[in-house]
């Protein structure tokens, strides 16, 4: 009998947990400890929780490492656990039909996982596992063998740019703050929605990055700004802070260097605007999150009026790697102006939804078709929305565009925090734009006029167009509004809010005009513009449509052609989906 340990890694990221990961883990623990498995295979089998490894559409994912071979099972439910334990853990034979397909490999092999690397591999609640993979070595190196200026120079050399939105050079930002003579200084890590997998999968990297940043700018106080609702992220970060404190990595006299560093949580509520750094600082100060006027910039006058650096969790996660492996190594990844990798949440109509980390400069084609495995149901790709709600909409003609800060700016979009939504032929671009505008107008903080009123007016005009009451003049008004908002809004939210409209209008003008001039929605999404009718040649009179219609709008006798009363039809599409003979037309 081999004595090599058997590892069972159960994904307990947000998605893994939502898919039932906790139950799966409990079932493994139960089967192994209570059913005498240990007697058969020895005390060498410990099921453990790991963070998200990205392939969320197949959760719960479970890795079994036996005799040095790793097998990954997908869509695991508690019922499947018993057979996995019996056949694989005890018997040594993997259950081929439950393991991941080739998609899993192709999803991962094209990615370049730097910050996401340890996520899904190590136990995020164990500092020892983090240390075992050279964790906190970079912090020790920075504090014992480098001056703060050396650290900043290394970050400058890496070319790392802020991963939270604006893409400002991290090293330069730190340099400005370091130069300020006012004390105390503060360093803030914003753990946004897209950073949750990092906080859940490898929280110590964030803590280490924050610690190194604090040392570099001479701040003794770090804040973790996070929504209280992200319980799992908060919990794992809290455990990580406690463990780091026990080891003396944070607290007084870190590594015996005389440098003191403390980390405090600051909890935010549900507000998109809190991603704006000055609004975030207002929120930490206990005020309503509304952006401040700039200048002064936070690096000069930030939290509590003191010099402050704000970066997001992904930026900080990159720091230990940059210090550990060198800025030059880091800058070898990516493009001329955009270095390193970027994490994106790949979602929408793409086959493999999930969290991906790609080297800067990778083309949209490689992301969508390589990593993402193409479009669901082999439909035609229509567009990609990148950079979050105020990002731009990229058409298929730009599929070969390399994704980096410069290229995205050129096409009217932003890298943002890393959202990426894929749309196919069934999506209406006007509706998609309206959807984003709905979100932005709701999340405007209400402080400045162009954003507060402008986003609302844009939403109203887009709604008009999707309802078939728009005119050509509405498009001109939308363009004019976009200009005012982009030029005069107080913060990035208002300035970038017109992006979805401007980009979609420039690439999908025909679709807008179809809504306005022909009163048609080419994708068949805008209910006010579509009519359902029965194709008499194909109708077999089965009566299914009549039965599923919730509005009693369909009449017809069995084996005779059915008819839809357009006045009663609520355009829900139930008949369209139900008909087995494709006899319902959507126009």
């Amino acid at each position: 009998m081999s004595s090599q340990p058997i590892e069972i890694k159960v994904c307990l990221g947000t998605s893994g947990s939502a898919a039932g990961g906790e139950e799966v883990l409990r079932m493994f623990q139960h089967r192994i400890s209570e059913q005498g498995i240990e007697a058969q295979i020895g005390r060498r089998c410990t099921p453990k929780k790991v963070g998200c490894r990205g392939f969320c559409s197949r959760d719960v994912l479970v890795d079994i490492i036996r005799d040095g071979n790793k097998t990954t099972y997908q869509s695991v439910t508690p019922i499947m656990v018993e057979r996995i334990v019996q056949d694989h853990i005890v018997g040594g034979t993997a259950i081929a039909e439950w393991t991941v397909t080739d998609e899993y490999a192709s999803f991962h092999e094209k990615q370049h996982k730097i910050v996401l690397g340890p996520c899904g591999e190590i136990d995020p609640e164990s500092i020892d596992e983090y240390i075992a993979m050279q964790g906190y070595l970079a912090a020790r190196k920075a504090m014992t063998r480098m001056t703060p200026d050396d650290v900043i120079d290394e970050v400058v050399r890496s070319g790392l740019r802020g991963r939270g939105g604006s893409g400002f050079l991290t090293g330069e930002k730190w340099k400005v703050c370091r130069r300020e003579e006012q004390h105390p200084k503060y360093i803030i890590c914003n753990v946004g929605e897209v950073n949750r997998p990092l906080a859940e999968g490898n929280p110590h990297a964030i803590i280490e990055g924050l610690l190194i940043g604090g040392y570099a700018i001479c701040a003794s106080k770090g804040y973790l700004y996070i929504r209280e609702r992200y319980h799992r992220s908060v919990e794992r970060l809290r455990i990580a802070i406690e463990q780091a404190r026990e080891k003396g990595f944070i607290g007084p006299n870190v590594f015996g260097t005389g440098f003191d560093f403390e980390i405090e949580f600051s909890f935010g509520t549900e507000a998109f605007i809190c991603g704006e750094e000055t609004a975030l600082m207002e929120s930490i100060e206990g005020k309503r999150a509304m952006p401040r006027v700039r200048p002064p910039f936070p690096a000069v006058q930030g939290l509590w009026g003191k010099p402050t650096v704000i970066n997001n969790a992904e930026t900080f996660s990159n720091i230990p790697i940059i210090i550990g492996r060198g800025g030059e190594w880091f800058s070898s990844i990516g493009t001329k102006e955009s270095k390193g990798t970027k994490v994106f949440t790949l979602s929408g109509k793409v086959r493999n939804n999930g969290l991906v980390e790609i080297p800067m400069g990778m083309s949209f084609r490689d992301i969508v078709y390589g990593i993402g495995g193409g479009i669901e149901g082999d439909k035609a790709l229509k567009a990609i929305q990148v950079g979050g709600p105020s990002g731009g909409i990229i058409p298929t003609s730009m599929l070969d565009l390399g994704l980096d800060y410069e290229n995205l700016a050129k096409v009217g979009s932003i890298v943002g925090s890393g959202g990426m939504v894929v749309f196919d032929e069934d999506d209406c671009i006007v509706s998609v734009t309206k959807f984003y505008m709905e979100f932005l107008q709701r999340e405007s903080c209400g402080k400045c006029t162009p954003c507060r009123v402008g986003t609302r007016r844009m939403l109203e005009l887009l709604t008009k167009i999707t309802e078939g009451t728009g005119g050509d003049e509405d498009l001109r008004t939308l363009e004019r509004l976009s200009g005012v908002m982009a030029a005069t809004s107080l913060c990035g939210l208002g300035r970038s809010a017109p992006n979805p409209f401007l980009t979609s209008f420039s690439h999908f003008k025909d679709e807008y005009l179809a809504h306005i001039r022909d009163r048609k929605c080419p994708a068949g999404v805008c209910t006010a513009l579509i009519i359902f009718s029965v194709n008499e040649e194909q109708c077999k009179g089965c009566g299914l449509c009549k039965r599923v219609c919730p509005a009693k709008a369909i009449a017809g006798e069995v084996k005779k052609i059915h008819l839809i009363d357009p006045d009663r039809c609520i355009k829900c599409g139930a008949c369209f989906r139900a008909c087995k003979f494709k006899a319902i037309k959507k126009q």
Binding site: M290, V293, R442, S444, G446, P450, G454, R456, L481
Partner: protein, 350 residues
């Protein structure tokens, strides 16, 4: 020398000006008598930068002049066609969410938004759309809040917090529904100083006692001093048909234009039927109207009589903080020198 270092020079609309560093573009422009429209800016409050009406062009980029500090060598254009169009559109956006009821608005004639609409000749907004509808339901007797007219400039929030130190109101909700209100949208229950009314640029906050009693025209303004306390705030009475309907205070006065609840709302006694207009002297147990001469003679006789029969210490005097310093001085002098007693006191003590 130290001071010279902090002097910078810039150009605004082609005119050179030197200012202290830290001066905003707006302040520098005002020194040159160049007018830049503002809505959220107030000289006595910290900068907000919310309305965006005061944008000017620096290196082709619009910046808000009320928040941007002037820099050495800066070239500012305050009214290029580009800026004027943007400005017009911002005012248009504000008006698109504003009730068009200037004809019945208390502030017509002194409304800053109305002035800008006039200046930019916006009769119907280009950006039409939904307007916020709010019920008016305040039960307080002083401040009428019509939040539909609120342009979210934030001046009221700031004056309440920064000047008055009360913080009775703040922003609530977000997006288009953002609203300024007391906590949990309760009725206003503050000290009712009315400072928010003073700074409000529109008719969103108006004085309830003066509602419907006369607008900006046909008002006779009378400069006076507030009769209430020794602070001696400058007061301007707004009289309409010989009735004081409202008060205000000049900004360049000793009280910087600020007033408290008494100066703002406490002058209705002027027209009260219960107000004493002549002295009253009690005759056979009944108070009857008397002339000042008669009242003084009666008072002097009685004081003399008491002093002569019971001694000066049988008399005491209490004075009021509502009198001036000079009057209070005379009063204690009178008691000490003329009456001969030290029994004199005052609510603020001699």
């Amino acid at each position: 020398m130290e001071k010279l270092k902090n002097i910078i020079s810039l150009t605004i609309d082609g005119q050179r000006i030197t200012v202290q560093s830290g001066t905003t573009i707006l302040a520098a422009a005002r020194k040159l008598d160049i007018s830049i429209p503002v809505l959220c800016h107030h000289p006595k409050l910290t900068a907000t930068g919310a309305c965006r009406v005061c944008i000017v062009e620096v290196n082709g980029i619009p910046v808000t002049s009320c928040t941007t500090a002037a820099e050495e060598g800066m070239e500012v254009i305050t009214a290029s066609p580009y800026i004027e169009n943007l400005r017009r559109d911002i005012i248009d956006l504000i008006l698109s969410d504003h009730p068009y009821d200037c004809m019945v608005c208390e502030r017509a004639g002194s409304c800053e938004l109305q002035e800008l609409a006039y200046k930019y000749q916006i009769r119907t907004p280009v950006f039409r759309g939904e307007r916020r509808i709010y019920p008016k339901r305040d039960g307080n007797p002083f401040i009428e809040r019509d939040m539909e007219k609120c342009i979210l400039c934030g001046r009221c929030v700031k004056v309440c917090d920064e000047v008055q130190g009360v913080g009775a109101i703040d922003y609530a909700y977000k997006g288009f529904q953002t609203k300024i209100c007391p906590p949990f949208e309760r009725d206003l229950s503050c000290e009712f100083c009315g400072q928010c009314i003073t700074v409000c640029p529109t008719g969103a906050l108006v004085s309830k006692p003066s509602l419907g009693k006369g607008r900006q025209q046909d008002i006779r303004k009378v400069a006076t001093i507030c009769p209430y306390c020794g602070c001696g705030c400058n007061l301007t009475l707004h009289a309409h048909k010989n009735e004081v309907i409202r008060t205000s205070s000049p900004k360049d006065s000793i009280n910087e234009g600020w007033l408290c609840v008494k100066g703002k709302f406490g002058l209705s006694f002027i027209n009260s039927p219960d107000r004493l207009k002549t002295p009253l002297v009690r005759k056979n147990g009944v108070l009857v109207e008397a002339s000042w001469e008669e009242a003084f003679t009666y008072t002097a006789d009685r004081l003399k009589q008491i002093r002569d029969t019971r001694g000066p210490d049988a008399i005491g005097g209490l004075s009021s903080a509502r009198c001036t310093n000079e009057e209070n001085y005379l009063f204690q002098k009178f008691l000490r020198a003329a009456v001969g007693t030290n029994n004199v006191d005052h609510c603020a003590r001699y």
